[in-house]
C-alpha cells in the first residue's frame, strides 16, 4: 500500500527546478562556511588545543604546520577547495594518525543506523496515529491519543533514556538472564551479512535508542500531523469527494493524505538535520560512536580540524535536506511548479 501511495501521491520529477534550486544553494553554503570559519577563529584554536604548557615556538610551529598563520581568505579558499574535492585527508589533532575522513566515515554508519530507522518509524507511526485521531475527531479515541501525545512530549528525553536503560536494558536482564537490549555500546557490520546484522546485532544495540527517539518525537509529530489532517478534513474538496461517492478510507488515504503530504514533508525534512544533532544525546548515553559523539568529543578536546569539518558537513546536510523539501514540494503540490 505504501508503494501505491508514493506513486499516487508524488508527481513527475521536476529536473529543471532541481537544478535551479541547487544553484541557489551554492552562495548560501559559501556564506555559511565563511561565518563558521570566522566563528571558530574568534579564539585562537592552537593555544586552546596545546594548553598552558606549550611554548610560544611550539604554538607558532603548529600554526604554520596547519596553515593557520596564512591570511584568512587563503585559508577559506583552501578549505572550500577541500570540501569541493571531498578531500578530508587532514589529520586529527587529538587522535593522531586518524584523518578527519576516517572519523567521519566511522561515525556515519552508527549515526545512520540510529537516525534513519528513527525518522522512518516516527513518521509512519505519527502519520498513522494522526490519521486515526483525525478520523475520530472530538470523540474518545481522539481525546485519548491527544492526551497521551501531550503526556509523551512533556516527559524529558533523559527520563526516557534512563527509564529505558534501567527497565529494558538492566531489569529484564536481571530477572530472566536473557538480554534483549544493550545498556550501551555498539558493534558495526564488520563481516556479518546485512540481514543477520539487522536481525541480531542491530536490535540489541540500536532498537532501544530508536524506540526512545520515536517516543520522544511522536508526541510533537502526532499533534502537528493531527492538526494538519483535521484542518484538511474540513476543506470543501473533502465534501466534494464524499458527494461523489468516495468511501471514507479512500477520502482519508488518497484525497486528504496527498494534501497533508505537504506539511508532512516539511516536518520530515526539517527533522533530517535535527536527527543528527538530536542523536548527540542518544549517542552519548548509549555510547554509540556516531558523528554526533565524534563532534562532542572533538569540541571537548579542542580538536580544531575535526570540529571545522563536521560543522561544514552539517551545514551541507541542512542545505541538502532543505533542497529535498523543496523538490518534494514541487512533486506533490502542482501549484509550486509554476512559480
Amino acid at each position: 500500500m505504501f508503494f501505491h501511495l508514493l506513486t499516487g501521491v508524488a508527481g513527475a520529477v521536476p529536473w529543471k527546478y532541481i537544478v535551479r534550486r541547487t544553484l541557489y544553494c551554492v552562495p548560501v553554503y559559501l556564506g555559511i562556511v565563511l561565518l563558521m570559519m570566522l566563528a571558530l577563529r574568534v579564539r585562537d584554536p592552537v593555544p586552546a588545543f596545546m594548553g598552558k604548557n606549550a611554548t610560544v615556538e611550539e604554538i607558532a610551529q603548529r600554526r604554520t604546520e596547519y596553515g593557520l598563520d596564512r591570511p584568512f581568505f587563503i585559508q577559506y579558499g583552501i578549505f572550500v577547495g577541500r570540501i569541493l574535492t571531498m578531500n578530508f585527508q587532514q589529520e586529527s589533532w587529538q587522535q593522531e594518525g586518524r584523518t578527519i575522513g576516517e572519523i567521519l566515515r566511522g561515525g556515519l554508519g552508527p549515526t545512520l543506523a540510529l537516525t534513519v530507522p528513527a525518522l522512518f518509524l516516527t513518521t509512519i507511526v505519527s502519520v498513522s496515529v494522526a490519521l486515526v485521531s483525525a478520523w475520530f475527531r472530538g470523540r474518545l479515541p481522539d481525546r485519548l491519543l491527544v492526551i497521551s501525545a501531550v503526556f509523551g512530549m512533556s516527559v524529558s528525553f533523559l527520563v526516557y533514556i534512563i527509564v529505558g536503560q534501567y527497565f529494558l536494558g538492566f531489569a529484564i536482564r536481571g530477572s530472566t538472564g536473557a538480554a534483549p537490549f544493550a545498556i550501551s555500546g555498539y558493534e558495526s557490520l564488520q563481516q556479518t551479512s546485512f540481514v543477520e546484522y539487522a536481525t541480531t546485532k542491530w536490535p540489541y544495540y540500536c532498537l532501544l535508542p530508536v524506540m526512545i527517539s520515536v517516543l520522544v518525537s511522536m508526541g510533537y509529530d502526532t499533534r502537528f500531523y493531527r492538526a494538519v489532517m483535521v484542518d484538511e478534513s474540513q476543506r470543501d474538496y473533502i465534501v466534494t469527494a464524499r458527494a461523489k461517492g468516495a468511501s471514507q478510507p479512500r477520502i482519508m488515504f488518497i484525497h486528504l493524505l496527498k494534501n497533508a503530504m505537504i506539511p508532512v514533508i516539511t516536518r520530515v525534512s526539517i527533522s533530517i538535520p535535527f536527527l543528527i544533532t538530536g542523536s548527540f544525546l542518544l549517542e552519548m548515553y548509549f555510547r554509540i560512536p556516531g558523528i554526533g559523539r565524534a563532534l562532542i568529543t572533538a569540541v571537548f578536546q579542542a580538536d580544531f580540524p575535526v570540529v571545522q569539518a563536521i560543522a561544514a558537513v552539517f551545514a551541507a546536510v541542512y542545505l541538502a535536506s532543505n533542497l529535498l523539501t523543496d523538490v518534494l514540494y514541487a512533486m506533490v503540490d502542482p501549484r509550486v511548479r509554476l512559480s
Partner: protein
C-alpha cells in the same frame, strides 16, 4: 410537470444535532417532492435550514452528532436514504444523486488534475475501461462548454477560473447521469455574468438529460429565472410550496410576501423611499416559539398564531402553505 414521476420524496424530515448546549433541531417537518426533469428551488435566508436539508438528503452531515426524526424519510426509488448504511450511500452519492457546491474555488482537490477527479467518479460508479473513461470525461468537459476540453483534462484546478471550475464540478456531478442534481448555492461565489452562464448551462443540461434539479439559494432572482416550483423555508420549516409564477405574483405566506417586498425593483420605487425590510430576527435554535415561527415578525399576527403552531395545508391548486391566515388576494 406535477403528474410525472417523483424521483425524490422528502417526508417529515427532521435533523437534530447533538451540541454542547443540548440537542439542536435544525430542520423540522420538511416535506416536498421532486419530479423527473423538474427544477425545484429551495429559498430562505441564511440559517433557515436549506443546506442542512440538502446535506441530510445526501447524508453528508457528521453521523456521530446527527440524528434524523423517527418518521423522517428521504425516498429515492425504493430506498429510504436515511436508513441506508454509509457503504450503501457511497453507491448512491455521485451515481443517483449528485451535488455541486457554493465555492468552486475550493471544491476541487488542488493536488489532483481535473481529469483525475472526473475519472474518479466514473471509476467509482461505472464499469468503463480506462480509455472509455477518458473519452467520457473529455466529452463531459465539452458538454459543460469548457474550452479546450482535451487540454484542460490534464490541468490542475489552480489553472482554471472560478466559472471554469464550477463547470468542471458540474461535469463531475453529471458524468454518471444521476436522476437528481442538488445544487447548493451554485452561483453565489461567481460574478453575475458567469452566474448567468452557469444557470443557463444547468438549464440546458436539465432539459437534455432529464435530471431533476434541486436548487438551493437565497437569491429569488435565480429562482425566478430557473425553477418550476419553489419551496420557501423559514427557521427550519417549509412555510410555502408553490409553482414559481404563483409564488412571485400571489405569495400566500406573509413571510414570502415580506421576502418579495424586500427585493429592489428597477424603477418600481419612489426616489428616497427606503427598501422594505423584515423587522426582527429569526428565532434561535434553542428558543423556537411554540406557535408559528414567523409570528414574532408577522404583520398579520393574531393571538392563535402565537399560541398554536400552524400545520401545512393545501392552498389553491398545487400549492401548500404553513399559515393560519394565508394571504388570499394579494397582487
Amino acid at each position: 410537470m406535477n403528474t410525472s414521476e417523483v424521483v425524490l420524496s422528502v417526508r417529515s424530515l427532521a435533523t437534530t444535532f447533538r451540541t454542547e448546549h443540548g440537542p439542536a433541531t435544525a430542520v423540522t417537518d420538511v416535506s416536498f417532492d421532486l419530479h423527473r426533469g423538474e427544477a425545484l428551488g429551495i429559498v430562505g435566508e441564511s440559517g433557515c435550514g436549506k443546506s442542512v436539508t440538502s446535506k441530510s438528503i445526501m447524508r453528508l452531515l457528521p453521523e456521530h452528532v446527527t440524528t434524523y426524526g423517527a418518521n423522517s424519510e428521504v425516498i429515492v426509488g425504493k430506498d429510504n436514504l436515511l436508513k441506508l448504511s454509509q457503504k450503501q450511500m457511497c453507491k448512491i452519492r455521485g451515481n443517483r444523486i449528485a451535488m455541486i457546491f457554493q465555492e468552486p474555488m475550493t471544491a476541487l482537490n488542488p493536488v489532483f488534475t481535473v481529469g483525475w477527479q472526473l475519472d474518479e467518479a466514473l471509476r467509482l460508479h461505472t464499469q468503463l475501461s480506462r480509455s472509455e473513461r477518458r473519452a467520457k470525461a473529455v466529452e463531459m468537459l465539452r458538454i459543460v462548454d469548457l474550452p479546450n476540453a482535451e487540454r484542460r483534462y490534464d490541468e490542475y484546478p489552480h489553472q482554471l477560473s472560478g466559472g471554469m471550475r464550477q463547470r468542471v464540478l458540474i461535469a463531475i456531478a453529471l458524468c454518471c447521469e444521476p436522476e437528481i442534481l442538488i445544487a447548493d448555492e451554485p452561483t453565489t461565489a461567481l460574478d453575475v455574468t458567469i452566474q448567468a452562464q452557469i444557470l443557463k448551462l444547468m438549464d440546458d443540461l436539465r432539459h437534455r438529460t432529464g435530471t431533476a434539479v434541486l436548487l438551493i439559494t437565497h437569491d429569488l432572482g435565480v429562482v425566478a429565472q430557473t425553477c418550476d416550483r419553489v419551496v420557501v423555508m423559514y427557521a427550519g420549516q417549509v412555510v410555502e410550496t408553490a409553482p414559481v409564477n404563483d409564488l412571485f405574483h400571489r405569495p400566500g405566506h406573509p413571510y414570502t410576501k415580506a421576502l418579495l417586498d424586500s427585493i429592489p425593483h428597477a424603477g418600481g420605487r419612489i426616489k428616497g423611499q427606503r427598501l422594505a425590510t423584515i423587522d426582527g430576527l429569526v428565532p434561535g435554535l434553542f428558543e423556537m416559539p411554540q406557535g408559528c415561527r414567523f409570528a414574532g415578525r408577522c404583520p398579520k399576527r393574531e393571538q392563535n398564531c402565537v399560541d398554536e403552531q400552524p400545520e401545512v395545508q393545501e392552498f389553491e391548486t398545487n400549492r401548500s402553505i404553513r399559515c393560519h391566515y394565508p394571504l388570499k388576494n394579494s397582487s
